[in-house]
Symmetry: C2
């Protein structure tokens, strides 16, 4: 294993970015938004575009928490606010939609499907390492998702446990601390270069896997590793091969 | 299912006391203490008595945290202090023992074996419910234990996440909150009546299973349910039967 550390490899746990890296959020959100719009009789809104808007608002909302502009709030709470903003962006007044239906649609983030290689890759990796998410998702979101999709996590510590969003250093450091491991004993697996950069700054090991369809057919970002990450693999099954799991 | 609640049963998650209910701490600690004493050439100390002493100090130390006499400290930290006290109690000066060896012995709590019915019972229960520990153990203790013993938890939130020890109400309530569930959607499984009483005070459902050998052959406590708990089962396999899992 190619590594930037001079010490021998001693990784005991693998933590995974989830939204984009383990599950395909865009298709899953678009599918559920599409059913919702159909039930409402809305025909002028593209569900995949709506998913992109809703997701972009995630970045803005977590930025506000990271910068201290607002106190920590669970991702379910941020997503619910952003859902209303996403409706406004397509000229639909959310106050005209039943609040309980919006609450239900907000749980779409709990019901996302894994990429085709995720379950088999994670199952193999679990035989050799502690595996868990390191995600912006709150614990119940990650847990509901795992139960529905069969993601075989050993441990689920959502961002509501550490009360901070990646790539803030505490997100990585405090999670390693809960595992009772030094950062260099933990490897972050992500399809996002900025997330890996955050992990490396904290002393964690890093693995990049590309998810070139995460943002749909015209994706331009994160198509390739932008730094010499410790491991580069084509997907989670290839990662299991490369880590001897 | 016999229940004290007027609403229909809506349990979504089962949380388990671990030390005593899922794993046999006394035999496991005695076995590891025995090897340690043998290596040190100590012959006058009974390892099972030593395990009992070490465990009793747990109650005192967590009482001090619950009452606010000292700030929260992880169970690994309390156990390490108590290990020294347990040596003093048998007239062995812990400062004469290598500190690294004591650190290693302290991890005995991470290496406890399940009762014979635990894995099969939990595996069946997991097919129908979210399952996880609700223990005084810190996350890394519970996680290491689960990986070693094959306990198939869906989620592991140690007492270091909520920073409080049972039976303080926050231990139950905050864990339910992380799961995104109301207390009446969560059932505590324990071999200890006082733990179940704590859970019921918070609105959780309760299941008692006896572990009459937890404290060795002369156990006098928790041999039977002391209240009308929602479910009473003989072990975790019987619990799976009774909950239709």
């Amino acid at each position: 294993m190619n590594t930037k550390h001079s010490t021998p490899l001693e990784v005991r746990a693998l933590l995974f970015d989830v939204l984009g890296t383990v599950v395909d959020w865009r298709s899953g959100i678009a599918r559920q938004v599409s059913s919702f719009l159909e039930r409402c009789g809305v025909v002028h809104v593209d569900a995949a575009d709506f998913a992109d808007t809703w997701s972009r608002l995630y970045d803005q909302a977590t930025d506000a928490v990271r910068s201290g502009k607002r106190p920590f709030a669970r991702l379910d709470v941020l997503n619910r606010e952003n859902l209303e903003a996403a409706f406004k962006a397509v000229s639909i007044e959310p106050k005209l939609l039943p609040s309980a239906d919006l609450d239900e649609l907000n749980l779409a983030w709990h019901r996302l499907d894994p990429w085709p290689d995720s379950i088999s890759g994670l199952t193999r990796l679990k035989s050799k390492f502690i595996i868990g998410p390191l995600s912006g998702g709150n614990t119940s979101l990650l847990l509901d998702m795992a139960k529905r999709a069969g993601l075989p996590w050993d441990v689920v510590l959502g961002s509501d446990v550490v009360e901070v969003y990646k790539p803030a250093p505490e997100a990585y450091l405090r999670t390693c601390e809960f595992l009772g491991l030094r950062p260099d004993q933990v490897l972050l697996v992500a399809a996002h270069n900025d997330d890996l950069a955050g992990a490396r700054r904290c002393g964690m090991r890093t693995a990049f896997i590309p998810r070139p369809a995460e943002h749909g057919p015209s994706q331009t970002t994160d198509l390739a590793p932008l730094d010499d990450w410790d491991v580069i693999a084509s997907d989670l099954v290839d990662l299991a091969d490369k880590l001897g799991a």
